[in-house]
Subunit: 306 residues, 4 copies
């Protein structure tokens, strides 16, 4: 029930503020005996710097992960895995004299907790997603036959990949930012994973994606387009997107997440470091969250259905 | 962690198959001392028959709710509330000789459980939503200052309300069905409800809506439209839809859910009773789920922040 | 997290007041395909009337269980199982004019909830345990190779079985009541069930037993006697009682629960129906709770360790 | 549901192996705005070295705690608190050539996970309790009006405090060890905390104490002695031990936990460092677990009952 955890059986709790000493994640419920090394996790953290890397934030965080517990001689032991990433490049002074940033979570935090850690958005920072990516790397070990690939399908309102570079350059030059839609295709999920009512696979995936900052919409299969189809189209597996009644059908699962443009644009005078399109960093985070949901659902399915 | 429950502190578990003896819901964690009568709940169940009632399924289920526990002399006692609705109009014979219905969850259930209850979709039936609406009626008692209103904003691909009657008639005559988009506007939620990372208000709402059968997409605020905006637009509260960083801002919360068209159309030869647009029945279910999430979040907020 | 539920994967929520219309239990997470009939459950409910039946409460409740959901043609479907027992012999008038009963939970309920259902102890009544016994009957289906046997090993302070009849007769004639110690021996639990830290098998069993009203102490293996032993005795498996480090060893598991004497004795003028030794009814409830913990732990073990 | 977590709203997850790089705990759900410093926590960690310090293990671990997240300028922020204690004195080589130790959890771990971390008992080590004591220090901040005091009331089978020094010296000289009973008295818990059925205060306390390694029995109030009393004695608050029907009465709460003697005695040839009476270290751990349960129950009560 804890509010900073996600998952039921493969459960993780991220901890840490973007400009505190470190961030990380504790994973509880990972099966024992899986091959796990810091190198495996590092690989995914490094992939957070996406292909269009010229357009991502200049923050040069090495994001070196360290396994503090739960593995022995390169294998998981079945006990909690704590992964830590030290914040070597923390520059809290950049933020302390900032007022609430329009569209940012600062005011909401203050309303909730009465006060807040003013350093770089605290928990609401995109930096917390590094911990999710690290956890996602472990989740992938639990579902070795599942392939998860996320990529932008729309940037700055354009589905034309050829336009994207120009749109991003324009946005940066204008001190602005643009949104993006990330599509994630998952293959190799066997029919039967999921649950019929409240642990529905699609509901869990929706929560997982919507829990990423800047995401304002989630679709499965035909998504909002489904509202424009007719009953006859239902026989088309593309409408279902790999899930019916909350349970995987065995077909590829297709999820899309809409990322709004960054709140803190240079035009607003914030000195911290930010991206012209946070959605570009969104793809590996979506992948990680999907991996985490699927690892959890695999264990749930195995528990109930053997 | 149970897979048929929803909520953390205000938690409900629906039970029952659409064509078994009864369906219902157990609510755990409801505060004591709230005025509760069967009449209050019945009111919301009756509202499930929406305004465009000519277009809803002819199943004449009275849906009489009975409070089996958790109330005494018209007040909640703080103990589990079990609400039961008997299935007086169950006609399982309509279904038993049916093969898997295209686009329906039948095959997924079989893949998961090895066999399935063939009567009317079992748990996957829209009938299970009556139990959610009953639970939602109790949830509303916990949040008396919150107003929740859901209504269709698109039917059969048209945002023109004047077109809807015609589109529905056409669909029924053609033995087909159409999709819908339901928008839910929530006012009166104080700034501060929600949580920063995984119990985010928007993530919970997304899961709640996506857990309704036939829903394939969920949006908060500008939703997928946000992916087409620029950073400057972020100052517009309409983009946030009442939630930033997972926490309510105090502004109205706006959620949209996309319902696909009914799977089981008359053209496919199914003898059971179905709607030409399940989305029309979706509005009260969306309201109920939103009420349930908010009741839960109110208690969570009170627990942590006093 | 719900406060009236127990278990993680095999999870049950009891509902109902002792003198309301019905009591019951919803079980979520039961594996599909298990043979389940009302007769199977009834068998265990009838066993609640223990061998020393002359000494149990004269309340002639038939305790007829009805399966409202989760089974189809004699097999579990994997969906929530709701079991209902109607309170045909409810006599609330016996209680309504009663003040708080010394040693009873009445005052504690009022302190918590502000008011209470005065009928027969409400949720605190021993009647709630019928729902646990019904749930336990389902749990046994999940662990068919496990044998669970509980019996009194001490009544009224005497370990001499030959004394028990006399002590019980004396207590009843004096309008008093006596305590008991129930011992439960479990065989057939494979080595490996359990968990190292907080879902320890012994911790779960302790919580399960202590959650039974009137239980004031729980022991595993040598229990309090272990505090009087020396390190050398540790090699004796009897000290461990079948559990080390929270995990089953494969040896028989031995649990003891201490039941205090009934609070509401005739001498205090309560007109409701009560037992001279609630501990006698305790044995089947201990068995049921142990079955529920083990079913849950089996599924947890299968989830994590395959 | 995670198996290495404890608590519902004030929830903690310990992580780390006794001879890995570090151990620690993540606390989720702590209210914001509480004064918290490393010094506060250190105080309780230092108290783990009990009064009879001559008799505790010679391991000279400084147990320096570091707050990695969840606090800002000396106050909790409401976000997850990660506390880390580095294992500066780890000597894994002492253990690697050891076979299973009789009465120890080694074999159970292997049965569960297929293999195990052989270093010093891994998670089953008493060292994990340092993380609990650190978490308990934070829990105490949530319940400032509650006083929790635990102390031995029996060592080596003797309730005579004057005997204890001699019994401990004898045990050490003989290369043996002795058990202990720890009693914890809690004052200042208001009537009403707790819950009637499965989140009963006594059930949670029993699970909390039984989750400490070496504990084989738990009692509340009169405990096993209650089984020897008569109904008339029920009016005596001492029998209840401050809890009736799972809910606090407002009277002092009295809990006793029975610790078995250490498994790994010098006579068995283990080169690692161990205590002649682990129960002596048990008192601060019992206090911490009790604080954690009460902090959680306070938040649960506030959530449901305002």
């Amino acid at each position: 029930m804890s509010v900073n955890s996600f998952g039921r059986l493969f459960r993780f709790t991220t901890w840490g503020e973007s400009h505190g000493p470190a961030i990380g994640v504790v994973i509880d419920g990972c099966p024992p005996g899986l091959a796990l090394s810091e190198t495996d996790i590092q690989l995914w953290l490094d992939k957070r710097r996406p292909g269009l890397s010229r357009h991502t934030s200049p923050r040069a965080e090495p994001d070196q992960v360290r396994i503090l517990s739960g593995a022995y001689e390169g294998r998981t032991t079945g006990t909690p895995i704590n992964l830590m990433i030290e914040n070597v490049d923390a520059r809290p002074k950049d933020y302390t004299d900032q007022p609430h940033r329009a569209g940012h979570a600062d005011a909401a935090y203050e309303a909730k907790y009465g006060f807040r850690d003013p350093r770089g958005g605290g928990r609401a920072s995109a930096r917390e997603t590094a911990a999710r990516v690290a956890a996602g790397a472990v989740a992938r070990l639990v579902i070795p036959k599942v392939a998860i690939e996320a990529r932008p399908v729309e940037i700055g309102g354009s589905a034309e990949e050829a336009e994207w570079e120009r749109l991003l350059d324009e946005a940066r030059e204008a001190g602005s930012s643009v949104g993006a839609v990330i599509e994630c295709v998952v293959t190799g999920v066997p029919a039967g994973w999921g649950a019929p009512v409240y642990a529905k696979l699609d509901a869990e995936l929706a929560a997982a994606c919507m829990s990423i900052n800047a995401v304002k919409g989630v679709e499965i299969g035909a998504g909002f387009g489904a509202a424009r189809l007719r009953g006859e189209d239902n026989a088309d597996p593309a409408m279902a997107g790999g899930i019916t009644g909350g349970i995987a059908t065995g077909e590829p699962i297709v999820i899309r997440a809409a990322f709004k443009p960054t709140s803190s644009v240079a035009a607003l005078g914030v000195k911290g470091r930010h991206d012209p399109c946070v959605g570009l960093r969104g793809a590996p985070v979506v992948e990680a969250m999907v991996a985490l949901v699927l690892a959890d659902q695999k264990l749930l399915h195995r528990a109930q259905c053997g």
